[in-house]
């Protein structure tokens, strides 16, 4: 129970503190914006980033690929036809308070035939994991939720790759849409983390194969996009910070934070730069994870641009990520740019295909309850003892769960 009379004064203090913080940040931002607008020399920027690399200064900002960074790139023409395949996933985490230990991943795929009246396709793939091989690590400990998330992410990209490959014969551009960043790495708390990372990269290679096959057979293209809604990244701000330093200041201690720009994110800069439909320049995020992707193959390094998917009255920013094999072909950039923006207009600021993939994937609370009941029935059928934890039982009572509460006509 939340006692609002105790929270309200804290909320009021929070509002005042954030407003004061924003005033200070806005003043700093105005200076930085003026500086950003003057950054037109790509060679100078690349030289400075190279200097940071040589000094191992730990620069984690954005490196421009091959376009001037202080200008916007207009919305290209939308292709007449295209196949858009979106993937998303959800999960049920292992729960020691239910009758049996298991976890479930559910991946939803939504196929939208852009420019056609054809009925979109939908595919779901639920997978139930219940053996120790999947549930426990090498020390016999129950895996954590991060491990489930990592496996689900790999399953999403694998299914996206599989469904894209199956549609490689369609003679239109293909856009594979994934929800969230494309860079994937796991911590040490995830069992077989390195294997998962390799499987993820394998799925990316599979998508690249789809592109190669479509190019060879149809002179068409297949792109992979990671869509990040309302990004809070500060990659461009970090670049501005780097460029404002003197040469002799380019060292790790100066790049640990963005100093007076610390706390400022890219979004307000991009709102100043980009009109609805426009994208930013292409950037490569400088990070050890992305370097590992690059080291696996130059085609797999992750590149991104910002895109204003909002309207004149209501700006909305997305970060659109793609592998280098997409980024180095301008026509593929244009197709991705136009289609992502078009999808966002169907759904008012978010890609329609991703919304539907999410809807297909999500496991709702009542479905989780039904699955638990199914498992209990199956256990009983197999003469297994079914026990619930006291914690779960008391929760059900406290929350007043009503399973069959309905009446005629509502």
């Amino acid at each position: 129970m939340l006692e609002f009379e105790k929270v309200v004064p804290q909320v009021e203090r929070m509002g005042r503190a954030l407003a004061a913080q924003n005033v200070t940040l806005n003043e700093r931002m105005d200076d930085a914006w003026e500086f950003f607008k003057s950054l037109s020399d790509l060679d100078a920027i690349h030289a400075r980033i190279q200097l940071a690399r040589q000094r191992d200064a730990g620069f984690r900002g954005a490196a421009p690929l091959n376009e001037p960074i202080n200008r916007a790139y207009p919305l290209p023409a939308t292709p007449a036809r295209a196949t858009i395949i979106a993937a998303d996933g959800s999960q049920i985490y292992p729960n020691t308070h239910v009758a049996a230990l298991y976890y479930l991943t559910n991946v939803g795929i939504f196929v939208y035939h852009h420019g056609s009246d054809a009925l979109p396709e939908q595919v779901t793939e639920p997978r139930l994991f219940y053996t120790d091989q999947y549930l426990r690590d090498k020390q016999g400990q129950l895996i954590n939720n991060t491990a489930v998330n990592a496996r689900r992410t790999v399953a999403e990209l694998q299914m996206l790759a599989r469904e894209s490959w199956e549609r490689r014969h369609i003679d239109y551009p293909l856009l594979a849409l994934s929800d969230g960043p494309l860079l994937f790495w796991v911590g040490k708390d995830v069992p077989d983390g390195r294997q998962l990372e390799n499987e993820y990269l394998g799925a990316m290679v599979h998508l690249h194969d789809t592109h190669a096959a479509m190019q060879r057979d149809l002179a068409q293209m297949a792109s992979l996009i990671g869509y990040v809604d309302r990004p809070t990244s500060a990659f461009v701000v970090s670049l501005i910070h780097l460029m404002r330093l003197e040469d002799d200041e380019v060292r790790r201690s100066m790049l640990d934070t963005n100093l007076e720009l610390e706390g400022v994110i890219d979004r307000p800069f991009m709102f100043k730069l980009l009109q609805p439909g426009e994208r930013s320049a292409l950037f490569v995020q400088q990070s050890p994870q992305n370097k590992r992707y690059h080291d696996k193959g130059a085609s797999y390094e992750i590149v991104f641009f910002y895109l204003n998917v909002g309207s004149a009255q209501d700006y909305h920013l997305a970060r659109v990520e793609m592998p280098m094999w997409v980024a180095r072909q301008p026509e593929m950039i244009d197709v991705a740019h136009a289609l992502v923006y078009d999808q966002c207009q169907v759904m008012w600021r978010y890609p329609y295909a991703l919304t539907r993939a999410d809807e297909l994937a999500v496991v709702r609370a009542h479905e989780r309850t039904q699955l638990n009941e199914l498992i209990e029935i199956e256990l009983r059928r197999n003469e297994q003892r079914v026990e619930h934890s006291e914690k779960l039982e008391s929760k059900a009572v406290r929350h007043g769960r009503k399973r069959y509460a309905h009446r005629f006509g509502r």
């Binding site: 939208y112 035939h113 852009h114 056609s116 009246d117 054809a118 009925l119 979109p120 939908q122 207009q345 169907v346 759904m347 008012w348 329609y352 919304t355 539907r356 809807e359 309905h406 009446r407 005629f408 006509g409 509502r410």
Partner: protein, 202 residues
């Protein structure tokens, strides 16, 4: 009265009581049901009777995704088809029970038990409608029901029952129904007048 197999299925029972039931269907399948239409449940093997009812409301539930699509105001036909044909957004059809059929005999009373969840619901064929409405006892059942638009429902049901009859019998049927209503609503002349206006033969 066994022609129901040919009649279009309009949905399946979602929830029910002896007074009425709600059946659900997908939004692209609401071509057939209409307000005031007579429907019957097609019972499973365990039930020994079919419930006869009259549709008194057809509603489509609120849906956050549809709201957003409306806000965007830029809906391609493929997305509209997706919403109507792929998504599990049920249309709810509310039905008032007015009788039941057991062993091919029609009863103008509430059924002894409600239909079961997922029982199929189909429109009554013309023969059943004519047969059921030979007696007009169901009029009182509708008149005495709250929470439904009584006059509109009675008028729609009577007009549907009239149109199920041969053209030369329709006038007499409606006049007879008007007389019955006059007997039932003698204490409420404005309501009676409104109802008679609604069912006045063309």
């Amino acid at each position: 009265m066994n022609e129901t197999a040919q009649q279009p299925v309009i949905g399946s029972v979602l929830r029910a009581s002896t007074v009425g039931f709600v059946c659900g269907t997908r939004s692209q399948e609401i071509i057939h049901p209409s307000f005031g239409a007579f429907v019957r449940t097609r019972h499973g093997q365990s039930a020994d009777f079919d419930v006869i009812g009259v549709i008194y409301a057809i509603s489509i539930d609120d849906d956050p995704l549809v709201r957003q699509l409306i806000m965007a105001n830029n809906l391609p036909h493929a997305a509209a088809r997706d919403q109507r044909e792929n998504r599990m957004v049920p249309v709810e059809i509310s039905v008032l029970n007015v009788g039941f059929i057991q062993d091919n005999v029609i009863y103008h009373n509430l059924p002894p038990r409600p239909p079961l969840s997922l029982d199929q619901v189909c429109l009554c064929d013309q023969h059943t409608v004519v047969h059921f409405t030979r007696q007009l006892d169901f009029l009182r059942l509708i008149l005495n029901t709250g929470d439904v638009p009584t006059e509109q429902l009675l008028a729609a049901a009577l007009l549907q029952a009239a149109s199920a009859r041969p053209r030369n019998e329709r006038y007499a049927f409606l006049v007879d129904a008007g007389r019955r209503l006059a007997g039932m609503l003698s204490h409420d002349l404005p309501r009676l007048q409104h109802l008679l206006q609604l069912i006045r033969p063309a």
